[in-house]
């Protein structure tokens, strides 16, 4: 009798979980995604392969992130010592050869970071998706063998975002985005983002290999690979300073 009770309880629990999953709101899905993908603080070692027609350029980098701030240093031979400092809405670039700091502002922010398909502005958007977009579920679909929710996000009134609309394929089990389409205000598809590898790291699923494809320029895409990532680490306060950028 006791076994029967337990079984019943389990079945109820399973049914409840299934029902609750099926009826998850768009907001909950995006929150779960943010929990996985949004970085409060982290130390990332990554590389970036920029492919433009037949040309491939590889760059390696190390990044420290804390809230709205981040410091990235390139470590590949050609760019060794080049650093980016993001402080809130400001972005500074340090070139070791010129020993000079340049503030990247205005229209320069729209250009690709170090020639990649991620614009400076893309890397500056560090807020949670839930704070930037209003989402609605538009369907479910299997993508690369994973069951996904399809969510359509429209920029919130006054939100400072580059893409007015984004359609995201979010893994319904791991709550990680596997594909995303980024649209211009007028509806033109500008970029497509694919996650080709995910990994569970410190209890959260995280995209470790992703490709950004430029849909306005032919044969232009950038592969981003995370070699290692440590979440929620302590970073000294003086890390995100101009002084540190120069050092």
């Amino acid at each position: 009798m006791k076994i029967l009770k337990t079984l019943l309880l389990f079945s109820f629990a399973a049914v409840f979980a299934a029902v609750s999953l099926a009826s998850m709101s768009a907001e909950e899905i995006v929150r779960r995604r943010d929990e996985n993908e949004h970085l409060e603080s982290a130390h990332v070692i990554a590389n970036m392969i920029i492919i433009s027609r037949s040309r491939e350029t590889e760059k390696t980098m190390e990044t420290l992130i804390s809230g709205d701030n981040s410091l990235t240093e390139f470590t590949n031979p050609r760019d060794r010592g080049t650093r980016f400092l993001k402080r809130g809405q400001d972005l500074f670039l340090f070139f070791p050869d010129a020993e000079d700091i340049v503030r990247i502002s205005g229209h320069m922010l729209n250009q690709g970071m170090m020639g990649s398909d991620w614009s400076y502005r893309d890397i500056m958007e560090s807020d949670k998706f839930i704070d930037l977009y209003d989402y609605e579920i538009t369907g479910r679909e299997e993508f690369e063998g994973r069951e996904c929710y399809i969510l359509e996000g429209t920029a919130k009134e006054g939100a400072d975002v580059s893409y007015y609309r984004r359609i995201s394929w979010i893994d319904s089990e791991r709550f990680i985005c596997l594909k995303e389409e980024l649209y211009a205000r007028g509806g033109r598809l500008l970029k497509e983002y694919f996650v080709t590898e995910t990994r569970e790291i410190q209890g959260r699923w995280y995209p470790v290999r992703a490709v950004m494809e430029n849909r306005v320029r032919a044969d232009s895409r950038t592969v981003f690979e995370v070699e290692s990532i440590d979440f929620d680490i302590d970073i000294p306060e003086d890390t995100f300073t101009i002084e540190r950028l120069r050092r």
């Binding site: 229209h107 729209n110 400072d160 975002v161 580059s162 205000r185 007028g186």
Partner: protein, 412 residues
């Protein structure tokens, strides 16, 4: 009086007697004047062309913007646009010398042909109004302005991206709310104006399409105003400013940076002209002094025959003045011929140096000459004065010599 006539006759006879010296001194003066006048005319013409290029293709006589927009105009700040009300347009059209106005919506974009991208300044315009303010329409090398949809750009920019009229391109930019947006359109026309900035950096799109794509409702960045004469701009601006609210700023053409740059260039040109005048002055002084030194023997003779010191000085000065007048007149004549030649044929520097715009000279095609009566008068008076003043001292020196000493040739 008799004495004066005698001296003038003597001076003329001396000049005729020493034809070579007279000719050489006059030639130095006329050559200097020729160089000065040709260069002055050429530079004045360049100057005029630069102004015309700025006024006829990009800035017009007066621009209206918001005060805040003007402060950050190099950033093309979409957050500081203005909505031109009927009252504003009416106030502008009541201005003295008003000819036409054209609204503009400038924004920064990337011109994309599907493979490459170039940063450009996109300019939303109403072709019918733009034609009344600027001369762009006369410079189409292919096609023409759009009606509701289309893109017009410089032929140079198009060739850089291997584009032709009829091709489709995309402009990528940020809306007023910072979202990416695009305008996809066919190239309806290609331009080749004398203004390199228009040819290389500007992409024209329909104002309505730009407003829609930028989410700017019925706002504009500028209102460009054309007057019947550019000299009226300062007065027109003070009249318009009285009619406007504080947020809107009217800027006359002469306060533009491009004009300031031009004025700085003019200052440089004037310095060059001044140096030429100084060199010419030294040449004249040199000739006059040499001729005085040569004639010490002669002065001794004249003094021995009873001519007074002051008469001798007068004689020398009269001779110098006469030579200078002949030289200056010949120089002015040759200068006039050179200017006529310049005005007719011009000099096409692109043949020698390629595109001048790469040296910061905003002009294309041959550069002609400009008439400047002021320069003729200035250079004539200057040469004659220098010749007269510089002849006083050596002639006094020569005239003071004792006749015996001078005749013995001890003056050297």
């Amino acid at each position: 009086m008799k004495n004066r006539i005698f001296l003038i006759r003597l001076a003329l006879r001396n000049m005729m007697r020493r034809k070579n010296r007279t000719f050489l001194t006059a030639a130095v003066i006329s050559a200097a004047i020729l160089v000065y006048l040709s260069l002055d005319s050429h530079l004045a013409s360049m100057d005029e062309i630069s102004y015309d290029n700025i006024l006829n293709f990009s800035s017009s006589h007066i621009q209206l913007t918001t005060e805040a927009y003007w402060k950050d105009k190099d950033e093309f700040p979409l957050e500081h646009l203005m909505t031109p009300g009927e009252d504003l347009l009416e106030a502008v059209s009541r201005t003295e010398g008003f000819k036409a106005l054209s609204p503009r919506l400038d924004f920064v974009a990337r011109l994309n042909d599907g493979i490459d991208e170039l940063p450009v300044i996109a300019r939303g315009i109403e072709p019918a109004k733009e034609k009344e303010v600027f001369l762009v329409e006369e410079y189409f090398v292919e096609g023409g302005f759009f009606e509701e949809e289309g893109i017009v750009m410089g032929a140079e920019l198009a060739s850089l991206m291997n584009l032709a009229a009829g091709d489709y391109v995309t402009l990528i930019f940020r809306t007023r709310h910072e979202h990416f947006n695009t305008i996809d359109a066919e190239i309806t026309g290609l331009l080749h104006t004398p203004n390199p900035e228009v040819n290389e950096n500007i992409v024209y799109v329909p104002l309505e399409a730009a407003r829609r794509a930028l989410d700017t409702e019925n706002m504009v960045s500028h209102i460009m105003v054309r007057l019947s004469d550019r000299k009226l701009a300062a007065r027109a601006v003070s009249y318009i400013s009285e009619q406007l609210n504080e947020e809107i700023k009217a800027t006359p053409w002469h306060e533009l940076e491009a004009v300031a740059v031009n004025q700085a260039k003019n200052a440089g040109n004037n310095l060059i002209l001044l140096i030429i005048l100084l060199i010419a002055g030294l040449g004249i002084i040199n000739s006059v002094i040499l001729s005085a030194l040569e004639r010490v023997h002669e002065t001794g003779m004249m003094k021995a025959m009873g001519l007074e010191e002051k008469d001798l000085v007068k004689l020398f000065v009269t001779e110098s003045a006469a030579i200078a007048v002949i030289g200056a007149a010949a120089g002015c004549l040759m200068g006039a011929i050179a200017i006529m030649f310049l005005r007719r044929y011009g000099i096409d520097y692109t043949t020698f140096f390629g595109d001048l715009s790469q040296y910061g000279i905003p002009m294309i095609g041959p550069i002609y000459g400009a008439w400047s009566p002021k320069s003729f008068i200035l250079v004539f008076v200057f040469s004659v004065s220098v010749a007269v003043i510089s002849s006083i001292f050596p002639s006094r020196w020569a005239a003071r010599k004792e006749p015996v000493e001078a005749l013995q040739g001890k003056g050297h």
